[in-house]
Subunit: 232 residues, 2 copies
């Protein structure tokens, strides 16, 4: 670990060894950024042409996108980009709450002292970034996910890590990206992160889980009102 990066790029940097995986990454970005609109129909031959590959690997890419719920597929009837409604996001946030709560509990049990130290430094960097930009931290989005990502890794639970990082965070990124700017919650979020980190440092599994769950359910309350205001 270099310790210099304030944001961790969770994507693979080295080119994927297969066409299908590279295309999967491309389409994933296009969906998250909104270049492929929500609910728009996916026609295999069109996309194959657009990305310059044949239908075989493209189909695999689509299947992988279905796996992480960015695409909805119906046999013989084709596939569409997912449409994020409030109902679905509530499911996501509830699942995230329980999973990350467990992750925080496990992290409190298993994290090494040097990891805990490193986590603390990460939060210092976030604090610095907040005061520098006077609360309008642009990278708060990624920085926030960065903190949660570290907890997930520290849990040493592969299943949970994979679901959070590969699926839930993607959907949350997409939702954030396509819902305009969020109110600057950077300072309160950081405070809560600090409390969680402190509980972990104290090896207080119970408290770490409770604080993490409260943190996420609080975030959901905000997102919920935004989504509801949007659709009225």
């Amino acid at each position: 670990m270099t310790g210099t990066a304030s944001t961790v790029n969770t994507e693979e940097l080295h080119e994927s060894p297969t066409l299908a995986l590279r295309t999967f990454d491309s389409i994933k970005s296009d969906i998250i950024n909104g270049e492929l609109a929500q609910g728009s129909k996916i026609v295999e031959s069109d996309l194959a042409l657009k990305y310059g590959i044949s239908r075989g690997p493209l189909r695999e890419a689509i299947h992988r996108l279905e796996r992480i719920k960015l695409i909805v597929r119906i046999p013989h009837a084709g596939s569409r980009v997912v449409t994020l409604d409030t109902r679905m996001m509530e499911d996501i946030y509830n699942a995230r709450e329980s999973l990350e709560g467990m992750a925080a509990r496990l992290a409190a049990r298993l994290m090494s002292d040097v990891e805990i130290e490193s986590l603390s430094k990460l939060l210092d960097q976030h604090a610095a970034a907040i005061s520098e930009t006077d609360g309008k931290v642009y990278f708060q989005r990624e920085g926030d996910i960065d903190f949660h990502y570290r907890i997930a890794v520290a849990s040493q639970n592969q299943w949970i890590l994979e679901k959070l990082n590969g699926e839930l965070y993607q959907l949350i990124r997409m939702c954030r990206h396509q819902s305009g700017q969020f109110p600057s919650r950077a300072q309160t979020a950081l405070d809560q992160h600090r409390q969680i980190a402190a509980a972990i440092a104290r090896r207080d599994e119970e408290l770490a889980e409770i604080l993490m769950r409260r943190h996420i359910s609080g975030a959901w309350e905000i997102v919920k009102t935004i989504l509801e205001d949007q659709n009225d």
Copy 2:
């Protein structure tokens, strides 16, 4: 809902509309039943021949099996049937504990009165089956999962339901099936199920979640010792 079925078949009964999906189901059964041994190599051309299809749909089936973790895949290097070690099962049970805890909480909040009544009747049927067979309930396996399945449905959380039913339960079934007979825990399990159902009927979200988590973590302690004894 008919109310007559004591065990719910969670698989699709009507033939799947596509070759890939049918083959997916076949291979899935073969893996869970142990006809395809853990860790054995999967060669696409061989399996395609065995199931009488071409490599295209077979590849899709394999991808779906990878998705639910019954197969592990490495690009260009082929795929193998998963090997269930203690480490992995611990991840599974920890994830299950948090997810089903949340499901029980949501069920306590959202379940309709008639659903609660039906759940109670299901437990009566389980009790009858236990006394009939004098504790040696053969279908306890499925019956147990049946109860948990109902809670997952009642949570009305699609994401959680899909992960539990499509992924975690499959792995647990496979683990049970390939670890010989488990000690008859039918009576204690039923008692705990009754307590959970009672908490749900009382709309006590907090208690429902706690009891469900305790129930599952207790089950893990048993499974854990079995797995450890096995590998020594």
